[in-house]
């Protein structure tokens, strides 16, 4: 009976080799896990960070990242940020120094001076972009940087709208960064009260019709901000509000505006509440009869939104989509939403629950990188000196994701369906090849990427096809192949 013999032999083999197979598996799993946490809680691994996680383990790495102040940042990053003067100015100073020139009554505008001022203001976008890229590449507080990307897109503003070219950097510094791992309510309040957001979604122009301050271009109600606050920032499109609620919230937020230049009242504030444009009639919002009036009424409404179960679900869905899979399972979203409500929107706690979920661990390399994630992770893995971030910004422009350039308030998506396109794939490979050759112009010297260095990071976790193609390729092409591989397009 040859089959029986074979079966017995197979069983014997199985018994003999089983321990070996198990130990090998036990070794392989951590390597994948390490790459996984670095792909999701960071913009991909560097060799240094990979070794760090290997030493302390994934659990401790997650705990560290959730407490960014415990992690020292490299000196180089601090030095880079110190060069960027406009980051330290407040919105009033920024407008004074970089806003459009003021022409006193009776004087003619001087086109030459106006053009020069138009050039000057560009330093703000430049500083903000440099700060963002250097932090994303160099900071060891990677989860914080990941959350800045997440929240900036959630509360997107566009640098090309009105005075937002002056305020875009401050918006991120003041309204997003301090709360990136904090409470959702604080983020909502900070973004809603920032002049960049009030300008971006036209609330500066919205007034109660017939109110004493409703004049000229500000003579009536504008629904834009109110609609997006509910649809995008809080409840979500299916969050159960009506057109009537949109109008009510617009009325509630009348008077939330930008302080005029040289204002005598509150000169140190760029965003103010202008009572003479506010609608003081009593209001019912989402079924709540509002108790307060004036500015406090807006805060009461924001609190209702921040604590709504629809908001908890909406934010949880977005987090699960960003950190787990494009279409996250409903049970996971519900679990996160429950945690959100229990902790009054403590993002750190929600993330803790998310990182502990099996769905998170089961989603290895199931997310397609956005152009932002692709570009940053490539530079991090390459470990080449970066003095000039412009080639990175240029690559993101070409891939359809210019930094601070998302026109619409929904921000950039992070799904495969939004970013995978035939042109994108060839262009990403082009970027990988140029980076690998040292030909991007990131620093004065040409620094080709060491394929051995990349191999030390990804060697064990690359697919068989990738390993084989890389091995058989000429040495000069290997780094490009790793950074341009299908493996590297995913996180």
């Amino acid at each position: 009976m040859p089959t029986q013999v074979a079966a017995i032999a197979a069983a014997v083999c199985l018994v003999i080799f089983l321990p070996v197979v198990l130990t090998r598996a036990a070794e392989a799993v951590p390597e994948r896990q390490i790459i996984h946490v670095l792909n999701r809680l960071a913009f991909g691994p560097t060799l240094e960070e990979l070794r760090h996680v290997k030493t302390i383990g994934v659990e401790r790495f997650i705990a560290e990242q959730l407490d960014p102040r415990s992690i020292p940042d490299p000196l180089e990053l601090r030095w880079r940020l110190d060069q960027l003067d406009t980051l330290r100015l407040n919105p009033v100073q920024l407008r004074q120094l970089y806003g459009p020139l003021r022409i006193p009554r009776g004087f003619k505008p001087n086109p030459e001076l106006e053009k020069a001022q138009g050039e000057r203001v560009k330093v703000i976008l430049r500083d903000a972009s440099e700060a963002r890229m250097f932090r994303a590449v160099l900071s060891r507080r990677q989860l914080k940087e990941v959350m800045v990307d997440f929240w900036f897109n959630h509360f997107n503003v566009f640098s090309g709208k009105g005075l937002d070219d002056v305020w875009i950097g401050n918006y991120e510094e003041q309204a997003i960064r301090p709360f990136a791992l904090g409470r959702f309510r604080d983020l909502l309040f900070a973004t809603t009260k920032h002049p960049a957001m009030l300008v971006y979604l036209d609330n500066t122009l919205s007034s109660a019709a017939g109110s004493p301050g409703a004049r000229g271009k500000q003579r009536g109600l504008n629904e834009n901000f109110a609609r997006e606050v509910m649809e995008l920032h809080t409840l979500g499109a299916d969050g159960g509000y009506t057109q009537e609620d949109v109008i009510t919230l617009a009325r509630i937020l009348t008077g939330w505006t930008v302080n005029p230049r040289d204002a005598r009242l509150y000169p140190e504030y760029a965003a103010v509440f202008e009572g003479d444009r506010h609608d003081y009639d009593p209001k019912v919002f989402l079924g709540h009869t509002l108790k307060s009036r004036g500015k406090a009424e807006g805060e009461e409404a924001l609190d209702i939104l921040a604590h709504s179960p629809a908001t908890a679900r909406h934010i949880s869905f977005e987090l699960a989509q960003y950190f787990v899979v494009d279409e996250p399972p409903a049970a996971l979203v519900e679990r996160l939403a429950a945690r959100f409500l229990e902790t009054e929107g403590d993002i750190r706690e929600v993330l803790k629950t998310l990182f502990a979920s099996s769905k998170f661990w089961d989603s290895y390399r199931q997310k397609y990188k956005t152009p932002y994630q692709f570009v940053i992770s490539a530079v991090r893995a390459a470990d080449v000196p970066v003095g000039n971030v412009r080639p990175l910004l240029g690559a993101m422009d070409q891939l359809g994701m210019p930094l601070y350039g998302c026109l619409t308030p929904d921000g950039y998506k992070n799904t495969e369906e939004a970013w995978l396109s035939p042109d994108a794939t060839t262009r990403r490979i082009g970027f990988a090849t140029a980076l690998a050759r040292g030909g991007l112009g990131l620093s004065a010297d040409k620094n080709p990427v060491d394929a051995g260095h990349l191999g030390a990071i990804f060697g064990a976790t690359m697919s068989e096809v990738t390993q084989e193609v890389v091995k058989s390729a000429p040495l000069a092409l290997r780094a490009a192949l790793i950074l341009g591989s299908p493996d590297f397009m995913r996180r």
Partner: protein
């Protein structure tokens, strides 16, 4: 009978493709039936594109942004006794006179959402109210069209693949900005073949990779080398007119292209919309010029082309307190092409009196946007009823008037 004629034209086109470049250009002449979709993202104010100047309510509700009636200074360009065209679109009037331009007014989605993002999703997946449809209706359309499938049967302009074209059938993304055809490292044979192997093992990314490689092979040849023909050596204009001229050239040179889509932003005019001049006028002018340039550049193939311009929804009838308009409902659909029965504003005009408005604020929808597209699918692209149903499940029946949009 019709099917046979089309089969003949297609095989003629394939035959000529082999013969070389001149014959190739001739093959595209009217033989290939094409559809180009222009999505105005952010909701264009259609009431200020085709102006119902005969409506008293129009002028009552739009004190600062209304366009004056034809004959008045800076007035609309008369289309008929009721409607006029925004003066910034003067470049389109020759197409109107040639009956190559039609409008369908008070058209839109049966879904009531005023969310840009949901409404654009429905416009692109073709199933209003159903957000779970993942593929775009143009991709389903591509699957329904007969014939062999190549990498450039459907092209999207820009680096991103919009939902309207996403799905099973292969599509090309074509960057038509300046430098779109610049050489990339992957065009070099040794690098290309190594990456070919690298991507052979990955299903989703491999598909996208191969489409990108095939598109580039064509694109580099068609765009880089032949530029002077379309523009007599002049540099193409910036923005949409330039893209449109290059798209026309690409389509003339590549008879395989049957579908194309392009998205344009900047229409969400909540503030300072302007009237005959200002923000909206400044966006309409290059759009009109680009569409005219596309018609011009298409040459003979214009006869077999239909261009549809539309938005996710319309804007409020009444101007808001900031010289702008907010999110509304019904809007305008523009239909252009040599195959269009134009010079006419189609649709059942519901009026602008308060009682005639949708929720007492917006232009009502009397024509489902899918019905307009269904007429084009049926009478221009020759899809069967069953195929149209596959592209737009549950599309409502088409009115006898709308059928005339495409002469049989």
């Amino acid at each position: 009978m019709i099917a046979d004629r089309r089969e003949f034209l297609k095989s003629a086109a394939i035959g000529l493709f082999v013969l070389g470049r001149d014959a190739l250009a001739a093959a595209a002449d009217g033989g290939q039936k094409r559809l180009v979709m222009v999505l105005l993202r952010g909701a264009v104010d259609g009431l200020n594109v085709v102006i119902p100047f005969a409506e008293e309510a129009y002028y009552q509700e739009r004190r600062s942004i209304a366009i004056a009636p034809p004959g008045k200074p800076d007035g609309a360009l008369a289309l008929d006794g009721h409607f006029g065209l925004h003066p910034a679109l003067a470049s389109l009037m020759p197409l109107w006179s040639d009956r190559n331009l039609a409008f369908v007014h008070a058209a839109g989605s049966p879904d009531a959402t005023r969310s840009h993002f949901d409404a654009q999703l429905y416009l692109e997946n073709g199933t209003p109210g159903h957000s779970t449809t993942r593929d775009g209706w143009m991709n389903r359309l591509l699957l329904a069209l007969p014939g062999p499938r190549g990498a450039t049967d459907a092209v999207s302009i820009g680096p991103i693949l919009p939902r309207i074209l996403a799905g099973k059938a292969p599509v090309a993304t074509v960057p038509l900005g300046p430098g779109g055809a610049q050489a990339l490292p992957i065009d070099q044979p040794d690098i290309g073949s190594a990456f070919d192997r690298l991507y052979s093992g990955d299903e989703a990314l491999g598909k996208s990779y191969r489409e990108g490689r095939e598109t580039r092979a064509k694109l580099v040849e068609l765009l880089a080398k032949e530029r002077p023909i379309a523009d007599n050596g002049a540099p193409p204009p910036a923005g949409f007119p330039g893209q449109a001229a290059r798209l026309a050239q690409l389509m003339r040179r590549d008879p395989a292209i049957r579908l194309a889509a392009i998205g344009l932003g900047g229409w969400d005019t909540h503030v300072n919309q302007g009237n005959h001049r200002g923000q909206l006028a400044g966006h309409l002018r290059p759009l009109g010029e680009g569409l005219a340039a596309f018609a011009q550049g298409s040459g003979e193939s214009w006869r077999g082309t239909v261009v549809v311009v539309l938005s996710e929804f319309g804007r409020t009838v009444r101007e808001n307190g900031n010289g702008g308009t907010d999110h509304g409902h019904g809007n305008l659909i523009w239909v252009l092409g040599g195959a269009v029965n134009g010079g006419r504003v189609y649709g059942d005009w519901p009026g602008l009196a308060p009682a005639q408005l949708y929720q007492r604020r917006d232009l009502a929808v009397t024509t489902d946007f899918r019905s307009v597209l269904a007429v084009i699918l049926d009478r221009h692209l020759r899809l069967s009823d069953r195929q149209v149903e596959a592209v737009f499940p549950g599309v409502p029946p088409v009115s006898p008037e709308l059928v005339q949009l495409i002469p049989g």
